[in-house]
């Protein structure tokens, strides 16, 4: 038997990029299975969000470059997390010669409906570092997975 050297699929498969593109397009239409991440009052410009369900908690990661801690407002009502904030414009009036403008500015709001079982009583941790906001929301005791030990007789 010959030994064949293992290679990364993206290096050896010429269709890899096309498959990836296809997956990404398919994901566009899979929205119904994911929780709602847009609320009625959200603005068209909204920061990108990740929502991860762990065994003990939910982690929400949000990309908000250039937003100060004091301009940010987080609130949790039952299982709906709202991230609200404002990206300040700086000294815009002084600037006359604009070559390129790609960044968006202004206020934004993002509403994320978490799946049930959120513990409102417990401490919710929120951290803002280098333009990335991380919020960890613990789950209620009864929704956490439990280990069941099997006794042998």
């Amino acid at each position: 038997m010959d030994l064949i050297r293992w290679r990364k699929p993206e290096l050896s498969d010429p269709w890899y990029e096309f498959k990836r593109l296809q997956n990404e397009i398919n994901d566009l239409f899979n929205l119904d299975r994911s929780p709602a991440t847009e609320g009625l009052f959200d603005r068209p410009f909204s920061p990108a969000v990740d929502l991860v369900e762990g065994p003990e908690d939910y982690t929400v990661v949000c990309e908000i470059p250039g937003v100060d801690k004091k301009d940010l407002e987080l609130s949790l009502t039952s299982n709906v997390l709202t991230i609200k904030g404002e990206k300040k414009q700086e000294e815009e009036t002084k600037r006359k010669d604009v070559y390129r403008r790609e960044m968006w500015k202004g206020s934004f709001q993002r509403t994320i409906s978490l799946p049930g079982g959120v513990d409102n009583q417990k401490n919710i941790e929120a951290n803002l570092k280098d333009g990335i906001l991380t919020v960890v929301i613990p789950k209620r005791e009864e929704t956490k997975p439990r280990q069941i030990t099997v006794k042998a007789r």
Binding site: D50, E63, D97, V98, Y99, G131
Partner: protein, 116 residues
């Protein structure tokens, strides 16, 4: 090369202004740390790269995934009007500000008129 260095790089959202004899570049790089940032000038090329360190999630499944796992890289061609020795950069809250100073000889000069 490790997996992390092979990650795709995209160009960051960027604003470019000119102000008081300076070209100001503002780049949005959320998740990039100061250590992961690299700005270099080589000849006419100004390259800016930022390695992202996203908060990793150990065990869990993604219910929503909108943040792309990419790094930032882009190159700009700068012409001779820019002073290579006077390039400043500041980084705060995921926003990188680079200021490129124009050479003294390229700045508009006020000419005083002598009169009787």
């Amino acid at each position: 090369m490790s997996d992390e260095t092979r990650r795709k790089a995209i160009s960051a959202c960027c604003d470019i202004f000119e102000e008081d004899g300076k070209i100001l570049l503002t780049l949005e790089m959320p998740g990039v740390t100061r250590e992961g940032l690299d700005i270099s000038v080589e000849g006419d090329e100004l390259s800016i790269s930022g390695r992202r360190e996203l908060p990793g999630v150990k065990n869990g499944k993604y219910l929503v995934k909108e943040i792309r796992e990419t790094d930032y890289f882009q190159k700009y061609i700068i012409d001779n009007t820019i002073d290579r020795d006077k390039i400043e950069a500041a980084f705060k809250n995921g926003i990188l500000n680079v200021s490129l100073h124009l050479k003294e000889s390229e700045k508009p000069r006020q000419i005083t008129i002598k009169g009787e």
